[in-house]
């Protein structure tokens, strides 16, 4: 039964390729491009994922999204696909798995997706507690539809000066990688700025006062 399904699926793919309009030859065919940009900031992480199914695999991807095959991607179907993708994403901070929260998506019309040119946009965030100052490692692994997919994985340039990317490593097809970064939080804002700036003046006055007192003590 399973073999028959595989044969049907391959036959379907072959027919889809044969039936392609010639213009499709100019565009993505049998690959599902999954491009992930990872933004790190002091409050958490953001994964922005652009998904582009090629024309020959678009129906396979659409079958996972448009579950009732009515040609419309509903909010529930979009959320369900986001959850499916989320299950295939493994994100670890310093070896500990962190939980992703689905925060937004944009799905083009299924007819556009079938051209091999439609781009699905997904966004996941990780809110986390206080991060210790110093070096950290964030690893991202994407296990979503590996047989169809090609990947891009990049760290976004941090917007906060307190985060610095120290290095990036990826496996050969970029389905997984590690981002090494440093976190150096700004000085504690609870100490009033006036106190910090007036501290040297206070020390000078104190020191002068002590010297004066010492001289007077010697005079006695």
């Amino acid at each position: 039964m399973e073999t028959l399904t595989v044969i049907r699926s391959r036959l379907g793919l072959l027919l889809a390729l044969v039936a392609l309009p010639s213009s499709a030859l100019a565009h993505r065919l049998d690959e599902y491009l999954q491009a992930t940009l990872v933004a790190i900031d002091p409050g958490g992480f953001l994964l922005q994922i652009n998904l582009t199914p090629g024309v020959a695999v678009a129906d396979q991807v659409l079958a996972l999204i448009d579950r009732d095959h009515d040609g419309v991607i509903t909010t529930n179907e979009a959320t369900a696909y986001a959850e499916l993708l989320k299950r295939d994403l493994i994100v670890r901070l310093d070896q500990r798995t962190v939980e992703l929260k689905f925060t937004g998506s944009n799905f083009p019309d299924p007819t556009e997706l079938r051209t091999g040119l439609g781009i699905i946009q997904m966004e996941f965030s990780v809110k986390r507690g206080a991060l210790a100052a110093g070096p950290h490692k964030l690893t991202v692994e994407n296990r979503h539809l590996p047989a169809l997919s090609v990947y891009l994985l990049n760290a976004a340039r941090p917007e906060s000066a307190s985060v610095q990317i120290a290095g990036q490593k990826r496996n050969e097809n970029q389905s997984g990688g590690e981002i090494a970064f440093e976190f150096h939080p700004p000085p504690n804002p609870s100490i009033p700025v006036g106190m910090v700036t007036s501290l040297p003046a206070f020390l000078v006055v104190l020191f002068a006062g002590l010297r004066q007192a010492k001289k007077k003590w010697k005079a006695y």
């Binding site: 309009p21 100019a26 940009l37 090629g54 091999g116 781009i119 990049n154 970029q174």
Partner: protein
Amino acid sequence: MNKSIILTSTLALLGGFLGPNSFAQTSPAMGEATKRIAATANKFLASLGESQRAKVVYDFKDEAQRKRWSNFPTGIFRRAGLRMGDLAQPQREAALAVLAAALSPQGYQKVLEIVEGDEVLKKAEGGRLIFGRDEYYVSFLGQPSPTEPWMIQFGGHHLGLNITLAGEQGTLAPSHTGAQPAIYELEGKTVRPLGREIDKAFALISSLDEAQRKQAILGFQMHDLVLGPGRDGQMIQPEGIKGLALTEKQREMLLDLASEWTGIMHEAVAKAKMDEMKRNIAETWFAWSGPTEKGSAAYFRIQGPTVIIEYAPQRMGGEPTKHIHTIYRDPSNDYGAKWWKR
């Protein structure tokens, strides 16, 4: 002596205060060029009928139109403005004259070769209407002006030019160039619209020694542009080899390679951009993915404080070396936003 110290210190302080990019992209020559381009654009507008004029000029603040550009062909990506195929021949020539005024001779030639390549693709693909020289669109954001900010957009399949002019300032960022086929015959001549880009890139990678290559070559495959059309406002962490680690000769080669994008614009803008890149060369990175043998399909990226350039062969549609996508951005000033955005 004291005066010179004071003057030097004042300039240094002023430089530090204004930042490294503050003097970039401003010159009287640019003002003259903007005046000339605006006059040519007004000639084009005068050649149009009223309904055509209404379709070609958008409000300068129209963000949807500003971002309406793509690598995709018409029919799949809906552009706005005036379609070249809908213009009468004199109007078409007037539209191309605007581009010729705004671009350098070699930049204009590159644009024509990309468009002609799409005409070749149209014939190879059986005459489908979504390809070919008729399927390019022209539009303006704002009224052409020698002093006020305005923008020229010209694009279609594998081309998205976004030219922002603001008096004595101008930029091409962000813009997309591409080619398919990346090599073709026209009137007995071999045409490679993006040929110099890859030739110069191979010369640069070949000039690196083993230790330098170890830094420059990314150990993974690159399947596409990272910051292509639709990725406005995003920026990635630079990778590869830093300009600081290149020899003087290699830095010159890197700048010469970048000039294939910065030099698309007319001479005054190109010179200002190149001067800015020279100032930032130590902080400019060069990265490579793929084989280093000349003629093979390889990805490369140039990234500095005020520039990002990517060149990515495409695996779909046959031989990757014959289908290229590139992007040119300015992380500090896409669409010339710092000159007009409040």
